[in-house]
Amino acid sequence: MSKHRVSRRQFLSYTLTGVGGFMAAGMLMPMVRFAIDPVLTAEAGGDFIATPLKIKDITTEPQRVDFTFEQKDAWYTSEVTNTAWVYRDEQDNIIALSPVCKHLGCTVGWATSKDHPDQFFCPCHFGRYTKDGTNVKGTPPIAPLDVYPLKEKDGLLYLGKAEPRTKEA
């Protein structure tokens, strides 16, 4: 027998504190979890889609990359392939531009016009964009090309949903 005898009062107060502690923790944990929930989901990273393009293969010359994901259209699920123009700018930042012309939605190509080899060109109505996606004044488009949010994972490029820019030429 140990020298230190536990009285009935002490025993009861220890057990009550213990059980009370568990109960409090049981109530508080979910609350804390809910409170910091936005932080946790942001880390999970929304809907980023893997592209076959390796980060180290990205050069200063825009290159075309196709990526496929599943899209649900009412009850019809289909595989959709999207395209991005990806390059590194002078500050070594990776830029991914949407190829959808801001005029009426044709697909623009890089350097497909002989007269403007360093611009994005839309074959439908001869709209043009500079390398950073800004629309050239005097051509039909009225806004710069959309930009994909991007991130790197396992050396591959991941792209999110293209977002419009507000900056105008």
Partner: protein, 154 residues
């Protein structure tokens, strides 16, 4: 532009930019030729959809003109001529017909629009990425044909 209300709405506000109508021609037959009929329709559907994606802002992809293969060609042409009249009345400067039926070549002169004939490729054994690259290579040739015709009529 596709034949959906959202695209048509855009079209109505930007009519002067969309001057080209694309009409796929589908031949339908039953019995032994059913499979061939379906696979060529599938090919034309994929192809025209990809084409529409490239040139969304300038072409209108009209619902396909569908006819029975064993029908008289005079009747088929007559029906298509009616479509042509209606489309031309509505300010489309260029009309393109896309088909995989070689017979249409014989009637090319009777039509005002340009007829594009492509041999149908069997796509059912290919996986998605092969399918896409195959269609892409076919459409690439069409793209230059379209831009060329647009340039001629500037």
């Amino acid at each position: 532009m596709k034949w959906v209300s959202k695209d048509i709405e855009t079209y109505l506000t930007a009519k002067e930019y969309v001057d080209t109508a694309v009409i796929p021609l589908y031949s339908v037959s039953f019995g032994n030729e059913m499979k061939h009929s379906a696979s060529s329709a599938e090919f034309i559907t994929l192809l025209t959809n990809y084409l529409e994606r490239q040139f969304t802002g300038r072409i209108m992809l009209v619902p396909p003109y569908t006819y029975l293969k064993n029908d008289q060609y005079e009747d088929i042409i007559k029906g298509l001529k009616k479509w042509e009249e209606n489309i031309e009345k509505n300010e489309f400067k260029h009309i393109f017909y896309i088909t995989s039926e070689i017979e249409w070549k014989n009637f090319e002169d009777e039509l005002d629009g340009s007829l594009i004939w492509l041999p149908s490729l069997p796509l059912e054994h290919l996986d998605e990425s092969q399918k896409i690259s195959m269609i892409e290579s076919q459409v690439k040739q069409l793209l230059s044909l379209f831009t060329q015709i647009w340039h001629e009529n500037l």
